[in-house]
Symmetry: C2
Subunit: 189 residues, 2 copies
Amino acid sequence: MTATVNESIRNGVDTATLFATLDAVKAAPAAAEFQFRASNEWINGTHSRSTIDGFFGVGEERAHERTFHFDADHPAVLVGKDNGPTPVEHLLHALAACLTAGLANIAAARGVRLTEVRSTVVGDIDLNGILGLNPNVRNGYQQIGVHFTVKGDAPPEVLKAIVEQSRQRSAVFDVITNQVPVTIEVDAG
Amino acid sequence: MTATVNESIRNGVDTATLFATLDAVKAAPAAAEFQFRASNEWINGTHSRSTIDGFFGVGEERAHERTFHFDADHPAVLVGKDNGPTPVEHLLHALAACLTAGLANIAAARGVRLTEVRSTVVGDIDLNGILGLNPNVRNGYQQIGVHFTVKGDAPPEVLKAIVEQSRQRSAVFDVITNQVPVTIEVDAG
């Protein structure tokens, strides 16, 4: 029995559970409707802190095993106190982590054992946009580049195809390369 | 002298330095060309860790005052170990933090003292997309909603206008609501 259980775990991914989850969602598609959330509190200057704990999924309200807190700030050169990375750096982390999680899952599903996955994400931004100094410059990144180093027990073409499949199924890649409508409501007073 | 220095600090934002920075960039627009980066290392399963330290800006290579590390994972219900929030939750944090930093800066520049800024960001996502079970469902968020509570020494309309200006100058809001090209390169073997 133990050998059978271990067989199903590849790259730390329990493929038996992964396939069972896919079957469960096929049978009840509404289980896949999730809502994720972050709450943020302004601390001082450009420094704020987000709390991430509850989310909705598989038909009910859920909570992470612990509550996560993340700080964001601007560095001194951008008139902040450097209490955390800038928001745009957090975004690059989100992209790298999303592509990497997908990579591990897809490799596991395809029977490929990974030994190393590293990535560097770089984003070019011209702050003349957010500073309001040039109306022709956008506020956000002009382009983002991701560089992966992937090693495992498969030929380079197979490893590259796994990265490509991860790109095609990445939530954060989709958010960044396609547009998502964002509504903002304000209680002020 | 001390009184003068204190006068320039509002909401923890040194407005004298903020305006001096704006003037410096007006005089030398290339100073505003930044590159931000995150490096990510796969740990196990859907768990990865990003490192954020160096960046380029104001004409030279720079480093944060300390190196930041962030973990991302999937919760058990998504076949992970919950070692960190999901990548899509990190993205919501990035959006909240970006809008909030802008709010503090803009309020300071407009002479408004803030006493409280809180926000909740929620994102709706149907995982039938990333699970590859329904080609009509996108991978990323279908919509994102932000709810701000803002208090300060100005009428509600003035506070709301500050949030609106922050939206119009937010880098992360722009990335999410407009598209950014992302290139992915892979070294495999």
